[in-house]
Symmetry: C2
Subunit: 440 residues, 2 copies
């Protein structure tokens, strides 16, 4: 979402990439240039403050610095060029829209802007003030024309994961080409079968759009490529169990956030390079924070780029985040799609099984998520859990009480935090986090 800390739209201070003026491209996309420049300036400032001030970062993070600096630049140019040759881009807001299937149909999948407070005044004319920040953000980015990803999306695929998004897609549908998949709310065999049916419908929709048929070969490749991305993230995650942790929570979170936007093979190779470096750090006992730093597992609502608020507070307070039990975390990369399928049908079955195994709070009951949180706290040697819910994110806000009880029963210190994207409560949150870190 950010380009750089320097002149918006021109050059970058975090890479050696040539200085390119992207304004003509943004104008062609219909972006509101002055507002977009202001956005990039603000987020660039945030990025510099949160990331570039960190000490002893892994060298391989340079790749992510570069990607972020070019996330509205070079990456959009790539999407632009891809579409100019007939390629199709699919924008998504949720894990449950399988990237494997999108890629197998010859399209590219990108996440959409949803992690910063923008355009709320416009948003509140068409939806309630007390809507969660993620939803207000994606509508705000669209209404104020500052998200190049949605402008480059031939189709947005939504899902019915929560009341707010379900209704927001109806409104977004008046502004963009939107297709909504229905996600079931339980995980019984009939639910998996239902979701499997939704995947078949999605297939038809994608094939119609791209004019390409999903074959066993293209689907096998799609599964392999996305699994490889997850495997790289699993390697990174595994190193965070070490004490001291070889990477900050902020950098690890960023790695997962970028997974939604970047070119898949290039990203995977870069993340494997990062994992190589982290594994060496672990072997050498090198960390980014003292071994005495309190180790925190963060659980809850996903954190869309550029939402780094809570991680920043925790790590500036002297703690270190060692894991994210969220869709921008373990729920993204923990499980792989089985690679044993040979026919398209078998592979679709495998995809349905994998995705329906994700423990989103939209499911009821959701005991597996509780088991996962306790397992992760142990595996990553966490000293405590901070459960994070966006205000008005009903599923995670409600489930936070069950998470709290689960952690208490397991003897793990826990603190619940509810916040949004604004900076207003930073001081108060810092005080609470500091007190929690001292207490554990």
């Amino acid at each position: 979402m950010v380009r750089s800390r320097a002149t918006p739209g021109r050059g970058t201070i975090v890479s050696d990439a040539p200085v390119v003026d992207y304004h003509p491209m943004w104008e062609e996309l219909g972006l509101d240039l002055p507002t977009h420049d202001a956005l990039l300036g603000a987020v660039g400032q945030m990025y510099g403050d949160a990331f570039l001030t960190q000490k002893n970062r892994p060298d391989a993070m340079g790749y992510l610095d570069f990607v972020v600096s070019e996330v509205h630049g070079l990456r959009i140019r790539e999407l632009h060029d891809f579409r100019a040759t007939g390629g199709k881009v699919v924008g998504t807001f949720c894990l449950y829209v399988p990237e494997e299937i999108i890629r197998a149909a010859g399209a590219w999948s990108v996440g959409l802007c949803a992690g910063a407070e923008f355009g709320y005044e416009e948003v509140e004319r068409i939806m309630p003030r007390n809507t969660c920040a993620l939803i207000k953000s994606f509508m705000g980015f669209k209404l104020t024309r500052v998200c190049p990803y949605i402008q480059e999306s031939d189709l947005v695929v939504g899902e019915t994961t929560c009341d707010g998004k379900k209704k927001a897609y109806e409104l977004l549908g008046e502004l963009h080409n939107v297709y909504v998949m229905e996600l079931p709310q339980m995980k019984r065999p009939e639910d998996v079968a239902f979701y499997r049916g939704e995947l078949s419908e999605l297939r038809g929709r994608l094939e119609q759009m791209t004019g390409k048929t999903i074959t066993a070969e293209s689907l096998k490749t799609g599964i392999k490529e996305v699994n490889d991305k997850r495997r790289a993230l699993q390697r990174i995650a595994a190193t965070r169990a070490a004490s001291p942790s070889p990477i900050s929570g902020k950098d690890a979170l960023l790695a997962t956030q970028v997974a939604f936007y970047d070119d898949v093979p290039r990203y995977t190779a870069s993340m494997n390079a990062l994992a190589d470096e982290l594994e060496k750090r672990v072997a050498d006992g090198v960390g980014v924070a003292p071994a005495s730093a309190q180790r925190i597992l963060v659980t809850g609502t996903p954190m869309a780029l550029p939402n780094w608020k809570l991680h920043d507070i925790i790590e500036k307070s002297g703690g270190i985040v060692v894991g994210e039990e969220m869709c921008t975390g373990s729920r993204y990369y923990d499980a792989l799609v089985s690679e044993d399928g040979e026919t398209v049908e078998e592979m679709f079955d495998a995809i349905a099984a994998k995705y329906m195994d994700i423990n989103c709070a939209c499911f009821t009951p959701n005991q597996a998520r509780m088991d996962d949180i306790v397992r992760m706290a142990k595996e990553y040697n966490a000293d405590g859990i901070i459960d994070y819910a966006l205000s008005f994110c009903t599923p995670y806000q409600m489930e936070a009480f069950t998470v709290e009880k689960t952690a208490q029963d397991a003897g793990i210190p826990i603190m619940k935090i509810e916040t949004d994207y604004s900076a207003e409560d930073m001081g108060q949150l810092s005080t609470r986090v500091e007190a929690f870190l001292e207490m554990i």
Copy 2:
């Protein structure tokens, strides 16, 4: 929910029923007697103030006055006696749990307490403050042990209509015997088929509980009985199109609210008697308010007994409510289950088709609801619409914006109101309603 305005738990001032002390029964049910007495006293006061102060009420409303005065008394005694002879009672919170099927399995269906602010302090220990009043209410009634209906329920059947209820049932499940049906979120043929499957599962669960098999005969009877109830309510609703309206909105709302609690054949007969009286009033040009009173259609979140707040404000401000586009209104009685089915399977298909035709805001898209609102505004000769959403009721809060746009496009004045069960904003709401009534 209310017993009377007089001595709680003893006697009644609105009927000639014998004075009975129900305290031993309530104690046996595990109710918290002092708190329950306080509740009955408070609600009795509300009832007296809202209903018994009305002028020129239909005589047949005496039946509903009596039912309300005995809603925690005689009706609970009936449930108690039914259960003593092996009968089973099923508590529900939502239209999507078909009463036809419950009755066909030999059980009785009752609504559960959810319409008053009670026990919030206890509730906020286990769920977020910003949960909708309906959910906080049902949890508060359970936690503070003041709802005899849930105490008399052998099983509570929940559904996944919104994020809040879906998660609340997990918490309620720790306190009571709860079974959750999954409701789909769209209305395509595959969704109807899915819901049909849920009905079959519900059938199995009910048959197991009652030890009775649903037969074509028992199901036909169940369908007929519940349709008859709806037909009576349709007759009442139809008279409200007349000017002047022969019945207040408050009384008509109460009629629908009581439909969830009362004995079915008795209730139907009484409502037909009320309809007879109202039809005569229409023929005679008799109304409860001047023909010049502004006629309001209320749309939105259902109003559970004893939630009469908005209707009371509108009618005390000089308007008259002529229809409720809500689950405690037209969505309850507008459509019938086809009576053409002969086999159990055919009848289940008909039940699925009918219920999946209800336009709850939990569905996406939900254009049929918009069409319905415009149709109702015309049919009932409404001068304006007041859209009502409980605070934090995401589906209806979000959809309120679409309702507003729909009404504006149709040239119907509309005002959106968001509130809860508290009396705190009564003054402010009255001012807004009065201004709206003057404006239209």
